[in-house]
Amino acid sequence: MERSKGTSSEPYLRIIGVTKTFGNLVAVDDFSLDVMEGEFICLLGPSGCGKTTLLRIIAGLEEPNTGKIYQAGREITHLPPRERDFGIVFQSYALFPNLTAAQNIAYGLQSRKLPKEQIAKRVAELLEMVGLPDVGHKYPSQLSGGQQQRIALARALATSPGLLLLDEPLSALDARVRVSLRLEIKRLQRRVGVTTIFVTHDQEEALVMADRIVVMRAGRIEQVGTPEEIYRHPATPFVADFVGVMNFLPGYAGPTPNRVRCGSLEFQCANPHDLAPDTPVVLTIRPEDIRLGVDDLSAPNTTTTRVEEIEFLGSFYRLMLRLEALGDTTRLVAEVSSNRMRDLKIEYKSTLSIHLPPSLLHVYPAEMSGIEAGA
């Protein structure tokens, strides 16, 4: 059953120029992607970005307007779902309520005319694999949500498909189950080695599980990359905002490619921009990247702020900082460990100096973000 990772560089799944419209609405717009064998891909994006539609197109449950899809070197664009090679798991589990867990798992095996003992053996194996060896005789309604989703996963994997499609499988579960199940799915995928496409709107899920993340927005790819790339080097303000927490400072491009002006302040950044001076921009930095309590106030990228709010979040604090130099509307979010909080004696309304390391600042043209410049 276990699948060895493909050694050839030929992608297992190729999606080329897929477009899908519903009336005047464009759900997927000229989407292309290569997926390697055994890869775990997350399609990440807000609801309505077309990620589920794309998944259904791959499954053959929707017909695109244009585009081609290849799987394992064979064009599948024109194949009906039954002739494709995939297993699928839905948010609603879609377990057949009138069949037991075992019958659900055996559902796809039975139509292959396998001998009964072989089916029973395979069902037991799959139940074991998803960690539920004893629930085979139970009906879905007698199982918890997490258990049901594991059975649904086992059912999808029963026929050893080449491609596993997961459509927000964890969204209906409560937080605790979600966290444990996502690790388990990842572990299972590694073990079986099945090429997997996982649709989610939860960036944390995507970061934890994916080999590569495809961030989608309005039917288009916004960025493709490993979780680290996506988090560390978001290609657009949208990605920066959607993945993790991000501070946005409105400003204008400075006279040189390494300078940005925000209000009365000027920041240096290591990543040069190629924008003409005075182009409206946004400057971004992650809350955990802001350095607090700097002594040398005259150093570049350093300024004083006032602490406006303190949120206690257990292992760390989240601070809401007001930059005196930037007027009333702009706030920065910073994160600080409990120890450092004590050391710096940070309190409500106290003044705090901060430093924004140039290497961790990113500059985007303001028009990409939809934020009013210089506000």
Binding site: V26, A59, P80, R82, E83, F96, S111, Q142
Partner: protein, 585 residues
């Protein structure tokens, strides 16, 4: 997140029109070919037995006796004088009157049963449902025994209400439509949101004010729906006007007299078309209203508990309910008495002869009443089996399909249309279509099959909607799962869809069976010797003046209906017990 949020949706890209029109066509798999074949079958079925007959009927109304096109001459003839067009006026009069009376009575009854703390509610509800189990002409017949010139009530109180004519028709329609209105109104009243009442009370509104500002607006769609249903039942009913109408012709009896009495098929077709129009209007309005009602229901509500009202109000409503129950029970009581007495009202000794000698030609020399009843049971069983299968599979293909969207919406529209077609109209349209020697379908004429098909179509819509609702409640991804596992759709249908919707399927079969037992209007033009059905026999017996035998037959229909109801109840219970394992969390 306190950072300025980036709007997740940017203006959607505009895609070239050319691309928008394109579509990658999937190859037709075996499943899709089978589905399409079934769609074609459905189309043929709906065309042959619904569209084409109605078309023939319409054409016929534009022709003269010789079959030449005469435009609207037949309609002009109908409206040429107040006399010839009396039936339309009469129909509208009695339907509107029946509608107002039925909805008022049913509202009060439903209010008592849902909003008040009355005793024996179950009993009240069951008794009120009885009229569903007998053809409308049976109550009309019982009214003659009760309120006729020599009726029981008339003799005891010396008061003749002048039954024959509009009085009798309206009484019968009210009686017949009462349970239908009651079901709708009870549902509407039960769905009230208690929070609205709490709010109104906390604002100090009086009971009457609450009634007009909260209760009435909340159930207005229910009231409208009930009104449309009663109107449609009354305007399309044939049995009651036939029996107690006297010389007061309504559209349905007018069609019958024109066709059966005078063989004036053109005029029959013309009047049928006239009957079709108000029925269609009522149907369309009802659909619109129901759509709104559904939208209203989906909101979350806190159920309202029945309340104890002022003892005077409580007593008045209870008395009202008791009177209704007494009335209904006495009507069926008189059917029972009539069925077992030798010679009403002169010789009241008990006898079984009304069941044995049974003067419906073709049946009399076989096994009497039971023979006709057996015909009806066969017909009803056939209708229940084939009707349920056809309607359910159609609803499945329409609801659970993925492709051919427009085909499915056209089929959906055609499938809900039969509700607007009165039985008389359907029956006459079938005569035009199938009693035509040049047509290959002529072979169906005079068979049990045509009776079954006409009955299926007469009662097509309600089961279709029931099936659609039940199917909508299933996870829409079941089919996708089946496909992903390379299981043919009919297998998933059989192993999952059917078991999951079994209670709905049973209720569809019951609906078909019970209605087939009491149907009259659609089959009155289609019956042939040896195939007399029970409700038709009641009519023929009444025509021949054999009231006692008509009563005996009516009683058999009532008993069969109740037995069938009981059977289906047990069946549902059995299914529920079996499915407990899946449904209990």
């Amino acid at each position: 997140m306190t950072t300025p949020a980036i709007s997740p949706t940017i203006p959607r890209p505009v895609v070239d029109r050319r691309i928008r029109r394109q579509r990658v066509r999937q190859r037709l798999g075996r499943d899709e070919i089978l589905r399409r074949a079934l769609f074609v079958l459905m189309g043929v079925w709906l065309y042959l037995f619904l569209i084409y007959p109605l078309f023939r009927l319409l054409i016929r109304s534009l022709q003269n006796k010789e079959g030449a096109f005469v435009g609207l001459a037949n309609y002009a003839a109908y409206f040429s004088s107040a006399t010839t067009s009396a039936s339309l006026r009469h129909s509208l009069n009695i339907s509107i009157l029946s509608m107002v009376i039925t909805v008022s009575l049913a509202f009060l009854y439903a209010y008592g049963l849902t909003r008040m703390t009355l005793p024996a509610k179950r009993f009240f509800r069951i008794v009120a449902m009885l009229p569903i189990f007998v053809p409308s002409l049976v109550q009309a017949l019982a009214f003659i025994y009760m309120f006729g010139n020599n009726g029981l009530f008339t003799r005891i109180f010396g008061l003749n209400i002048g039954l024959y004519g509009p009085v009798g028709i309206v009484m019968s329609e009210v009686f017949y439509a009462f349970p239908h209105a009651l079901i709708i109104l009870m549902t509407a009243l039960a769905l009230a949101d208690a929070r609205l009442y709490e709010a109104a009370e906390s604002l100090g509104a009086s009971g009457l004010r609450i009634f007009f500002t909260v209760t009435l607006p909340a159930i207005k769609y229910g009231l409208m729906s009930a009104a449309f249903v009663v109107f449609t039942l009354a305007i399309t009913d044939f049995g009651a006007p036939k029996v107690v109408g006297g010389n007061y012709d309504v559209l349905a009896t007018d069609i019958y007299n024109k066709v059966i009495g005078q063989q004036n098929f053109e005029m029959g077709a013309t009047i049928s078309t006239l009957l079709l129009i108000p029925a269609m209007i009522a149907f369309i309005l009802d659909r619109l209203v129901q759509r709104r009602q559904v939208a209203q229901i989906t909101a979350e509500v806190k159920p309202l508990a029945p309340k104890k009202y002022h003892p005077l109000v409580q007593g008045a409503v209870l008395t009202f309910c008791i009177l209704i129950v007494i009335f209904i029970l006495s009507i069926y009581g008189i059917v029972i008495v009539g069925a077992f007495t030798k010679y009403w009202p002169y010789d009241l000794s008990l006898t079984l002869k009304n069941f044995k000698t049974f003067y419906v030609a073709g049946a009399q020399h076989k096994s009497g009443a039971l023979h006709v009843l057996w015909n009806s049971i066969q017909m009803a069983t056939g209708t229940a089996i084939f009707g349920t299968a056809i309607v359910f599979i159609s609803a499945y293909l329409i609801e659970k399909g993925r492709r051919l969207r427009w085909v499915r919406s056209v089929l959906y529209l055609l499938s809900i249309m039969p509700l607007s077609i009165p039985g008389m109209v359907l029956g006459l349209a079938y005569v035009f279509t199938f009693n035509d020697p040049s047509s290959p379908l002529n072979r169906l004429y005079g068979t049990m099959a045509i009776l079954v098909i006409s009955t299926i179509f007469h009662y097509y819509t309600v089961p279709f909607l029931t099936a659609t609702t039940a199917l909508k409640q299933l996870d829409p991804e079941f089919e996708a799962i089946g496909e992903s596992l390379n299981v043919p759709f009919y297998r998933t249908f059989w192993r999952v869809t059917v078991p999951m919707t079994l209670p709905a399927i049973i209720s569809i079969a019951m609906y078909f069976f019970l209605n087939a037992m009491v149907t009259l209007s659609a089959i009155v033009f289609l019956f042939v010797p040896g195939r007399e059905l029970a409700s038709l026999a009641v009519m023929l017996l009444d025509d021949a003046g054999e009231s006692a035998q008509a009563m005996a037959m009516s009683l058999l229909i009532l008993v069969t209906g109740l037995a069938a109801r009981g059977f289906f109840y047990l069946l549902t219970r059995g299914v529920e017990r079996r499915t407990q394992a899946w449904t209990q969390g």
